[in-house]
């Protein structure tokens, strides 16, 4: 069976009695290499093909999936989806069969070179050289260099006649240096700790120049060994763009997922403080504007159509500090009377689509980095997230980072603080934003590890962000 032709699955669903059906076939090719010090810790390549189908019977939805694409497997899987839809009728208040879109198109990530076509020996050599560059530096006890690349071929069709084919390329690489001395240990990463992935080809790996940046992180990791712990106090905090990404992810992205807002995720990931009565009210300072844009160039997790066939386009969710919209799919947006933000996504063929982030960005402000630092009498610049925890309504958060740089009298003193952490509550924190970096401070970064849903789906998402300055923040928690 042609893995780009989903029609046989949709036809099978129609023949089995589905009032409406949509199906996806996905083929993924994945490569991952990790070098620990001078040894290849893991090297692997994977391919994965399968399909998932959603059907509606009496307005109730059922979903089933299978890795087999033969006629028997399609028939068996469609039957299971129909059984699931019928079972749902036992406790469903308002069944509804959606009007599916009739849309056709094809899209692919623009890249210069597919990283998966690069001989894997070159990736092994690159990572080994990067790790070796670290191990040659003083006090470096361990270096871990890693690289991964994905190519997704996704085909979608539905009973309304839609047919979409999308090819997505994503890649990234990372170098982590661990310094150790006298029982102390500290880590620094390049380009960053969590959001170091892009929708790109081998050219992104080449641009990163892991070897050329080894000395920077090694020097800082070694300096952190003797740096003081971040003190417990309230102070002004400047968040670097990659630290901002975790803040955006946890305290804007997840709380604005409309399925959470309506309680569909309360049984697992939680709900949201950002209930619909807050639409049109303040979410943060007037400097804060955020946009959902799956089409953002280079952003991991991007696409031209989401997994229910809604065309992607930039959509504001926060404008000058005011909440104006949510991340939504067809069903949840209709409950608000809004148009969907093309945020219906599934991870692989196996899973049912749910409301997810793709790329959610905070728009740049007008301040230079020097200008932001210049406005701080006493504070810290916090960079590169290491941990994050937030409550199930997305209010009480606490994040940790690799490094903080001391700011005094409007300048970086050069002093470092180890293992900084900060905590707050979402509305008060975003209200304390009083400076936002300009485009020169803005970065795009993605992570392949955003978990949501049952069964758990680990999605690829990204954020664009400038540097942000926040006043009166609790640090050193």
């Amino acid at each position: 069976m042609d893995p780009r032709d989903v029609t046989p699955i949709v036809d099978a669903a129609r023949r089995a009695g589905a009032e409406a059906a949509e199906a996806r076939i996905e083929r993924v090719v994945h490569r991952e290499v990790t070098v620990r010090s001078l040894e290849v810790e893991s090297i692997r390549e994977e391919e994965d093909t399968g399909f998932g189908v959603s059907v509606w019977i009496g307005g109730n939805e059922g979903f089933a999936s299978s890795p087999a694409l033969d006629a028997d497997a399609i028939r068996r899987t469609v039957d299971r989806a129909i059984e699931a839809a019928r079972a749902s009728a036992a406790s469903r208040a308002m069944p509804h069969t959606p009007a599916l879109p009739e849309v056709r198109g094809e899209w692919r990530t623009p890249i210069r070179a597919d990283a998966l076509e690069v001989p894997i020996s070159e990736h092994v050599d690159l990572l080994t050289a990067a790790a070796a560059a670290c191990l040659a530096r003083p006090k470096i006890a361990l270096a871990r260099a890693s690289l991964a690349a994905w190519r997704y071929e996704r085909a979608y069709a539905n009973t309304a006649g839609a047919s979409i084919v999308q090819t997505v390329h994503e890649t990234g690489a990372q170098l982590v240096a661990t310094a150790g001395d006298k029982g102390e240990i500290e880590c620094r990463s390049y380009p960053t700790s969590l959001f170091h992935w892009r929708a790109a080809g081998q050219e992104f790996v080449d641009e990163l120049d892991l070897v050329g940046h080894a000395h920077e992180i090694c020097e800082e990791a070694a300096r952190l060994l003797t740096a003081p712990q971040c003190p417990r106090e309230r102070t002004t905090v400047l968040l670097g763009p990659y630290m901002m990404m975790l803040q955006i992810h946890e305290s804007i992205g997840h709380p604005l997922e409309l399925d959470r807002v309506f309680g569909d995720e309360k049984g697992f990931a939680g709900a949201s403080f950002a209930t619909p009565d807050r639409l049109g009210t303040k979410y943060g300072s007037e400097l804060l504007s955020a946009v959902v844009d799956p089409t953002l160039a280079g952003a991991m997790g991007g696409y031209a159509w989401d997994d229910e066939g809604t065309a992607a386009a930039p959509r504001p969710v926060i404008e000058r500090g005011v909440l104006v919209d949510y991340l939504s799919n067809r069903e949840s947006a209709a409950r608000l009377g809004h148009a969907p933000t093309s945020s219906m996504r599934c991870v692989g063929w196996k899973h049912k689509p749910i409301v997810r982030m793709s790329n959610l960005s905070v728009l740049p402000g007008t301040s230079s980095l020097d200008g932001l630092i210049g406005g701080i009498e006493r504070g810290i610049l916090v960079e590169h997230s290491t941990s994050g925890s937030i409550d199930d309504n997305r209010l009480n958060f606490q994040f940790g980072a690799e490094i903080a740089r001391v700011i005094e009298d409007g300048r970086l003193t050069g002093a470092l603080l180890r293992r900084p952490s900060y905590a707050g509550r979402t509305p008060e924190f975003w209200a304390s934003l009083d400076g936002l970096g300009d485009a020169s401070t803005w970065r795009v970064g993605g992570t392949p590890s955003c978990g949501k849903g049952q069964p758990l789906q680990i999605a690829h998402v990204s954020h664009g962000s400038p540097v942000g300055r926040f006043r009166d923040v609790q640090v050193g928690v």
């Binding site: 391919e47 299978s66 894997i120 941990s387 994050g388």
Partner: protein, 454 residues
């Protein structure tokens, strides 16, 4: 034994041998379905099947991995081509002696007919009864009922052949009424033994408090943690504290503490996939090596890290010493060695007696988003969720607003003063792919001082 799996495995092992490679194959066939509900109605009903082969190949110490889905023999051949290409380019691992010799002809069945016979309609009907109960008490319910079956087969060119056929069933529910909420979970290999009404009644009871939660000041409180709250804390001990990779990377807070008292003497913790009452079954690891009970903490004393052969080599420990081999979870590609079936030993106090004598403290149903903020120091943080109550004069009283704790685990677990004489078998309903269910058995615990920071 599944003939389709057998055919692919034989082709892979024979093909690897022809190419001069040793090989180890892990095959997992899964069928699972999950019914989710929210606001007292079913909103998601999904069925998933998968068949995935993870193949590791080794030639002269050069080790690589590949994976594919489905029983297509051309995919198997392509996987071998890929594997051979990988082992050609990867440098040899110094001191790697090849794949462990696992069990030969081990077949374990923990498949319950009650789970296999459960239909989606049966589950939906039981959930409808839950909704009726919730409505009668003025609460909304949210949760999921997961059932599944799995066949796991590990085979290698060294003669390993180990097979597990298992079923699982987990029901979890949050009941909510305004700002009040309660939580409960029930897990078993047998879906018909999962008491969904009992669990729901437990959650509904916690949500049905007459008063809204009151705000209390952060600070240090004596606490009673329900088993649901103990689970994520001991899971962190299993992963960050006792995980082999944490030790060889030097980031475990238990590094160098072997033989030392690290927790209170009432804390005993083991990885034990063979305990039929306290774990979902995991009789062997990803190498096919039978898993014995590996004690991690014995009456407060750290016994040693959980290593696989690779991390044991780096730690300069004998491979699989003391039957500690736990070669990573099967569902993560290349995951580090870790406990998959933690069992916390029960204490001697009836659960209802744990609060006795506490003048002012907190009863915590559940902890959420528990994260290791500072791994080398073992500083953990997380939020209470779905039922936090004030304890006054030994009695559980009114609900309070959720709080965040931040505390080194060594300090927290050194303050355990009692554990309940019974526990709960818990398993995450948000299973990864492919499904190999992990589990934790935990009693309730009374802890003399838990530090709440906001």
């Amino acid at each position: 034994m599944d003939r389709e799996i057998q055919g692919v495995v034989e082709r892979l092992l024979a093909g690897a041998s022809r190419r001069g490679m040793a090989a180890s194959v892990c095959a997992i066939r899964e069928e699972g379905n999950l019914t989710r509900f929210a606001n007292n109605e079913i909103h998601q009903n999904v069925c998933q099947e998968d068949l995935v082969f993870t193949v590791r190949g080794c030639r002269a110490g050069r080790l690589a991995t590949t994976r594919f889905h489905g029983a297509d023999l051309t995919m198997a051949d392509r996987a071998l081509d890929r594997l051979e290409a990988l082992v050609k380019v990867v440098p040899p691992i110094e001191g790697f002696v090849g794949f462990a010799e696992g069990a030969r002809g081990l077949e374990v069945s923990r498949a319950a007919p009650g789970t296999i016979a459960t239909t989606l309609g049966d589950k939906a009907g039981r959930i409808r009864d839950v909704h009726a109960l919730a409505k009668s008490r003025g609460t909304q319910t949210y949760g999921a009922f997961v059932t599944g079956r799995m066949l796991l087969h590990v085979a290698s060119t060294t003669g390993t052949s180990a097979t597990l056929e298992a079923t699982d069933a987990t029901f979890e529910v949050i009941a909510a009424r305004g700002a009040r909420s309660g939580y409960a979970q029930a897990s078993s290999v047998d879906a018909s033994a999962v008491d969904v009404i009992g669990a729901s009644a437990e959650a509904v009871e916690k949500a049905a408090a007459t008063r809204p939660p009151e705000k209390i000041a952060p600070g240090e409180y004596e606490v009673v943690l329900a088993p649901y709250a103990v689970e994520p804390i001991v899971d962190q001990v299993g992963y960050y504290g006792a995980g082999g990779r944490s030790h060889v990377d030097g980031v475990s807070f238990l590094l160098g503490r072997e033989g030392a008292r690290v927790f209170a003497d009432g804390v005993t913790l083991a990885d034990d996939g063979g305990d039929p009452d306290r774990s979902l079954p995991m009789p062997f690891d990803a190498d096919g090596v039978p898993k014995d009970r590996a004690v991690v903490i014995d009456r407060g004393v750290f016994q040693g890290a959980l290593h696989d052969p690779l991390s044991a080599r780096l730690a300069k420990s004998p491979p699989c010493a003391s039957n500690r081999s736990t070669a990573g979870m099967f569902d993560f590609f290349g995951s580090p060695p870790m406990a998959t079936n933690l069992v916390v030993s029960e204490g001697s106090v009836p659960a209802h007696g744990l609060c006795r004598g506490i003048a002012r403290g907190l009863y915590v149903t559940r902890l959420w988003y528990v994260r290791m903020q500072d791994a080398p120091r073992g500083v953990s943080t997380g939020m209470t969720r779905d039922g936090t109550f004030l304890i006054s004069d030994g009695e559980i009283g009114p609900p309070v607003e959720d709080l965040r704790y931040t505390q080194p685990l060594g300090e927290l677990l050194s303050r355990v003063v009692a554990a309940s004489d019974s526990g709960k078998l818990l398993s995450p309903t948000a299973w990864f792919s492919p499904r190999v269910r992990t589990s934790t058995f935990a009693p309730a615990m009374r802890i003399a001082g838990m530090r709440f920071t906001s």
